[in-house]
Amino acid sequence: MEQKELIEHIEKNFKYKKEIKVIDGKQFTITVEKDKVLNLLSFLKLIDFKQLALITAVDWIDEKKFEIVYILFSYSHIQQILVKTFVDRDNPQVETVKNLWDVASMYERDVHEFFGIDFIGNDDLRPLILHNWKDLPPLRKDFDSLKYSNKMFGKFKKDEEI
């Protein structure tokens, strides 16, 4: 399907509240409520958006929200969809999508490690990349990377003796 037909199809068949924005000829975003994400994703999977390319998050610290982004790709429509949802920053929780795509469990581990977002239903949220991390998740905006680096790895001073 062309992008226009595709959007019409989604508008017509997915009845819950949503907001569709076109980015360019090959991409568009759909923003939905947090509890309707799973419905939307399974609906999109049915209309041949078979590949989950990435799950990632954005920290909107002033609005006290995390934005979670699911990037889907379809080889038959040659379209990319960014499914977005917002969760509360103090209690960040969404349902896992690992039952739809196996690969999601890795992405969720990653997002959990770097933003501290919980994925309900995913029982394997062990640390993936960082070594022995004990502080705030590092990609949160209130984590001070420079201060951490200076304290942890030593600040470089000019005349310091080794």
Binding site: I129, S145, Y148
Partner: protein, 181 residues
């Protein structure tokens, strides 16, 4: 190199002779996680031809003399570098490439990249630049050779003498149990 007396021969002559030969055959193990590694292939191959100095790449730490840290090191790879270094046979030397292992370089504020390699391993030579050109690398290698010949490049002895200090620094970043901030 002519030795003046038998006593000198006994004391350090033998070591000096060994050093003379050591500097002429350096096998290097390159730990290529940083961007500086890109400059090594041209240094090794025909354009700059490092082998005329008797240097060549070695596949295993057990038979290598030089450990090249080619750029930034994350905490996770620091652990592997320490394993590798401790597996190497003596005498062994460490060369740090670029500004990242000196003071953090452009990763000075990163939460996962160490700022200063000299705190964790004895660095014999640092080559500045982001990244150093093959000319600078070869210049660095010849400096190291001179230092080896004079018996000044003794990082591995320093590591043994100050083992506790190095281990303490390593443990501080690798086996932390409390939050930093």
């Amino acid at each position: 190199m002519i030795l003046s007396s038998t006593k000198e021969l006994k004391d350090k002559g033998f070591e000096q002779i060994l050093d003379f030969f050591r500097k002429k055959s350096l096998w290097m193990l390159h730990y290529c996680t940083g961007c500086g590694a890109v400059e090594l292939p041209p240094t090794m191959t025909s354009r700059w031809d490092m082998e005329r100095f008797g240097m060549g790449p070695m596949a295993t730490p057990r038979q290598a003399d030089l450990l090249l840290i080619t750029g930034y090191l994350s905490v996770k790879s620091l652990k592997r570098v320490i394993y590798t270094y401790e597996q190497m046979q003596e005498p062994k030397w460490v060369i740090a490439f670029g500004s990242c292992p000196i003071n953090g370089g452009i990763y000075y504020d990163s939460y996962s990249v160490i700022n200063r390699l000299a705190l964790y391993l004895p660095v014999d030579l640092s080559i500045e630049g982001c990244m150093p050109r093959p000319e600078a690398i070869i210049d660095g290698f010849t400096k190291l050779m001179k230092a080896i010949e004079k018996g000044e490049a003794v990082g591995y002895k320093k590591y043994k003498e100050n083992y506790e200090w190095y281990k303490k620094n390593q443990r501080e970043v690798l086996e932390r149990t409390t939050p930093v901030l």
